[in-house]
């Protein structure tokens, strides 16, 4: 026992250090490099910049229309999140509280969406959106994102609504409130935490999504932020400084949201995945 403890402690220390290093160092290095000139990037061994150069950021905005990408990402993420929350909180409420014939079928159908790898849907969705003139539009992207986030939101909402005692709604009905009013005035205020949880997950999903954004838009006026990185990778590979800057610009919003909403994100991931 006494011999094992120091070994165990050392192993634990090495393991934890490894975890922290692989999670932090790459980010710090890229962040630091984003402030260095191209010449310095190519020659310098150390990760720390000699001074603060914002040239890379200026260059990044010049190379790709980043402002447009940012605007698109914000618009798509917010609208897709709102639509997703409204539609699937309503569906979840009815599924939890009402009895009707197709209930099982709908739950199974909504869960099936979980087991379909996104890549399988790339060509069919491209096809559907082209046929409905939604290809290369933000609206098309919004519809697709709102639907792709369906299983997670649906499960988070269902498991939360299940915890609300039915007596509250019963009291509302006795007081003469209708179905819709009960939902709006009793259920919605009570499910606010679930909205925060599902909302932040959905937002992050939209913000980070890459493959559908790449496939379902064509013109650079309709692209989102993650696609900007593809831009930097493919067409302007020589300006590494700008590439670093672009990586930072894409990553920072996700990290900030994560830091602010960590609690909601974790509880959402737990309830969203345990059910599935």
């Amino acid at each position: 026992m006494k011999v094992i403890t120091p070994i165990k402690k050392t192993l634990t220390f090495i393991f934890i250090s490894f975890i922290v290093i692989i999670s932090v160092i790459p980010f710090i290095w890229v962040f630091a490099s984003s402030f260095r000139g191209n010449a310095e990037i190519m020659s310098s061994v150390s990760g720390f910049p000699s001074g603060l150069h914002f040239d890379n950021y200026v260059a990044a905005f010049k190379i790709a229309p980043l402002m447009i990408f940012y605007k698109n990402s914000v618009v798509v993420s917010i609208i897709a999140t709102v639509i997703n929350l409204i539609i699937f909180s309503m569906a979840a409420y009815v599924i939890v509280r009402c009895k009707f014939k197709l209930k099982k079928t709908i739950i199974i159908a909504f869960s099936l969406a979980l087991v379909i790898p996104g890549a399988a849907l790339l060509q069919p969705l491209y096809n559907t959106l082209s046929a409905t003139h939604l290809y290369d539009t933000l609206a098309g992207l919004i519809i697709v994102y709102a639907a792709l986030g369906m299983p997670t939101t649906f499960y988070i909402m269902m498991s939360y609504i299940q915890t609300i005692p039915y007596t509250l709604e019963e009291a509302a009905y006795i007081d003469g409130a209708g179905f819709f009013r009960t939902f709006m005035q009793i259920i919605l205020p009570l499910t606010r935490p679930a909205f925060a949880t599902a909302g932040v997950l959905q937002f992050l999903f939209c913000w980070n999504e890459f493959q559908f954004g790449l496939t379902l838009t064509g013109d650079k006026m309709n692209r989102t932020v993650p696609i900007a990185l593809y831009y930097f990778k493919s067409s302007f590979a020589s300006d590494y400084g700008a590439m670093f800057a672009a990586t930072v610009l894409v990553t920072i919003p996700s990290i900030i949201i994560y830091m602010l909403m960590q609690k909601q994100i974790i509880s959402g991931l737990v309830s969203g995945s345990v059910k599935g």
Partner: protein, 289 residues
Amino acid sequence: MTKNRKWIILFLTPGIILFIFVFLISIVLLVGTSFTNWSIGSSISFSGIKNYIYLFTKDKDFITSIFNTIKWIALQSTIHILIGVGLALILAKSKWYTSLVRTVFFIPNIISSAALGLLFLCIMNPQFGMVNNIITKIMGEQFVHNWFMNPDTAFFSVTMTWLPYAGLVTILVMAEMASISKEIYEAASIDGASSFQQDIYIVLPMMRNIIGTATILAATSMLQKLDIIIMTTGGGPGARTMNMPMYLYNTALVDNNYGLANAQGVILIILGLITLISVRKIYRMDKEH
């Protein structure tokens, strides 16, 4: 209840429409056109299972992409899970660094994988990448590689972009561990079980379901990895790091061979279902639900 009928329909319709538009139509199209000869500029014609026969007998790169995908599924459902669960067991003993490490470890999972891909492309860059800089300093110039482009190191390099990042596994397992009552630990230590024995004989068996869930998520995530591959190797060199999503993307959007791409999509879904069912079987997850 009957008078609520119109509300039920009203509340469900938007969700169902969205489901039909994005999922149902896609799946019908996918399966239907996988039996056709259909590429850009030509009209669709029924071709039976010709696409499937071609993929499995003539298309070497597709076979490689299946094998690579399966290798990654296997690695992800073993090593990745071990790292995540191991860390959860350590952190659950509430050390001073618990919340810090858990927070930091999840960062690579929360950012866009496209960004993670580009980040790795930078740090493993042969000329200025951090990895080569460190290797040069410690071991000397001769150990330096062009990590993503060298056929010998490409697979390893791509694997490293996701294999160690088991933050989600850690978070899921830790959340479940929080629900174990303190009395169980107390009873075990009164019986003389060391903390290691407690982990092995008490905690892990109780975690079976959540580890199964985490394994399903980790394994099936390997069927989704288009973004990192496209940002780093694009499946190359040769087809060393080709996976099924990347190959499907190339077939559909570069070659514009839609029928063939959709046959690959069907195979991708089937592989996903096989993975899901096997993990559930292995972890005996069917009984609980």
